[in-house]
């Protein structure tokens, strides 16, 4: 029988605050973490988690990951020590751009002060595996550790990769997620010039007047454990990871394939992996960037797989109140989905006033909503799509 994988810990640092509870409760209440067109983690003080030495040796993306991991690991009850041998615990933290803030800072050092002043730690801070390395070192996780880089689906694919490690017996537990801090003028400029950033400064996925996304920063981390081992140690089970599917469009560097075949295949694969049907979903946490291209392609993909059931499945986008967290998005959205399952309450798409009827019949959540369990219990889907044509879908279910 296949090994089941459960979520025993969740952590998040987002523009809505530090902690998964702030994320869930404020989102359900309809709050937004966006301020003047950007989602910064304004209240996050990394010194609360890291020594002065480690602050010098980490990019902000890594600092966000450490704080989210700390919350997740403590919630899993690992605070007093690891429940499995360290070499049986893997760590995969995704990011689209890694330590881009440090790259920018050190480029300025090179230009203004010269090569002799460039930090010898640049590579170690910028590398896309830095967050995984720091989290692994912090807790003594000696199984496989790595970064996962697939743009805006990095977080989801990190979780999927971890799920597969536990199922395959290559690990008994994994610490997985995503982290990103790429909200500088440089990053704003490139996304604005690419035509995907909201010019109006209001991001409203699925709204008729949507005009793109806003950038946000943050991190989401989950602790996944083999269900039998988690039960044996009396661990709290927050949710179960039922299924995962991932594909590639192999079509275009930035544009989604219009028929959304790859995205649909990923969703179909995730449902099949989870052994649930299209009518079993009680909630969809959509990728929902708020670009016209994404919304159309995503709804096309979902309709191809869910058919008539899509119209009756409550759906919302976390990016409406966080901004687009790029490589952290899928992980933070997985945390949001776990909390929605736990409380049977889903957050709305903030700012959605005028649903785009061209998208066809949809059950778009516009205020915090109580979710109804189906015959298979309460089951949710979280989708992520990334530049490069990466598609990922996770199926999560309430604890049973």
């Amino acid at each position: 029988m296949r090994r089941r994988v459960v979520v025993t810990g969740c952590g998040a640092v987002t523009p809505l605050g530090v902690g998964a509870t702030a994320l869930h409760e404020r989102a359900v209440a309809g709050d937004t973490g966006l301020d003047t067109g950007v989602g910064r983690c304004a209240g996050f003080d990394p010194a609360a988690w890291l020594s002065r030495r480690d602050l010098r040796r980490t990019d902000r993306y890594c600092q966000l990951a450490v704080a989210a991991a700390d919350e997740a690991v403590r919630q899993a009850g690992w605070g007093a020590g690891l429940p499995y041998p360290g070499d049986r615990i893997a760590c995969i933290i995704g990011s689209a751009l890694g330590g881009i803030t440090t790259t920018e800072e050190q480029s300025a050092v090179l230009a203004t002060r010269g090569a002799g002043h460039v930090s010898p730690l640049l590579t170690a801070m910028v590398m896309g595996n830095a967050a995984a390395a720091h989290v692994a070192m912090r807790y003594g996780l000696r199984g496989e550790s790595a970064g996962f880089a697939s743009a805006c689906s990095s977080g989801s694919q990190s979780i999927g990769a971890g799920l597969r490690l536990v199922r395959a017996g290559a690990a008994d537990a994994v610490v997985v997620g995503g982290a990103e801090s790429a909200v500088s003028p440089l990053i704003h400029a490139t996304f604005r010039n690419a035509g995907v950033l909201s010019e109006s400064g209001r991001t409203a996925p699925f709204d008729r007047r949507r005009d793109g996304f806003l950038l946000g920063e943050g991190a989401g981390v989950l602790v996944l454990e083999e269900a039998g081992a988690a039960a044996a140690r009396g661990a709290p089970v927050l949710a179960e990871v039922l299924g995962y599917g991932a594909t590639s469009d192999a079509y275009h560097l930035t544009a989604p394939e219009p028929e959304a075949t790859g995205a649909a295949t990923a969703v179909r694969a995730a449902l099949s992996d989870a052994a649930v049907g299209p009518g079993d979903l009680g909630y969809i946490n959509a990728h929902g960037t708020g670009t016209v291209l994404n919304d159309r392609a995503e709804v096309t993909a979902l309709r191809r797989v869910l058919g008539e059931h899509l119209a009756g499945t409550p759906m919302s986008s976390s990016k409406s109140y966080l901004g687009h967290l790029l490589g952290a998005a899928g992980a933070v959205e997985a945390v949001a989905t776990v909390r929605a399952l736990q409380s049977a309450t889903a957050p709305p798409t903030a700012g959605l006033d005028d649903p785009d009827e061209d998208l066809g019949p949809l059950d778009l959540i516009r205020a915090g909503r109580t979710l109804k369990a189906g015959p298979a219990g309460l089951v949710a889907l979280s989708t992520s799509f990334g530049f490069g044509g990466h598609n990922a879908a996770l199926v999560l279910a309430e604890a049973r």
Binding site: R53, R56, P120
Partner: protein, 84 residues
């Protein structure tokens, strides 16, 4: 660079740099050992960089391997920088 290097200036730079690394200033004495101050190989690389940028002296990593205490580090820099 090109400033007059004396032991006091060197001592101040070494101490200030170690503080930046996270060492408590009160723990920095001449006889304090790098190991006890938790100075690791990355810190030594950054300390050598700071010394080079400040005094124009490129101290080889192999020479720093023999450094045990703050006093040893200051003496090494003074020697190679021709401190007065």
């Amino acid at each position: 660079m090109a400033q007059v290097v004396d032991r006091e200036v060197v001592t101040r730079l070494v101490a200030d740099t170690l503080v930046q690394f996270g060492v408590e200033r009160s723990e920095i004495t001449a006889q304090a050992k790098f190991d006890e101050l938790d100075i690791d190989s990355i810190d030594v690389v950054e300390l050598r960089q700071a010394i080079k940028n400040e005094f124009g002296v490129d101290i080889r990593a192999a020479d720093f391997d023999k450094v045990d205490t703050v006093h040893d580090a200051v003496a090494l820099v003074c020697r190679q920088a021709g401190a007065v």
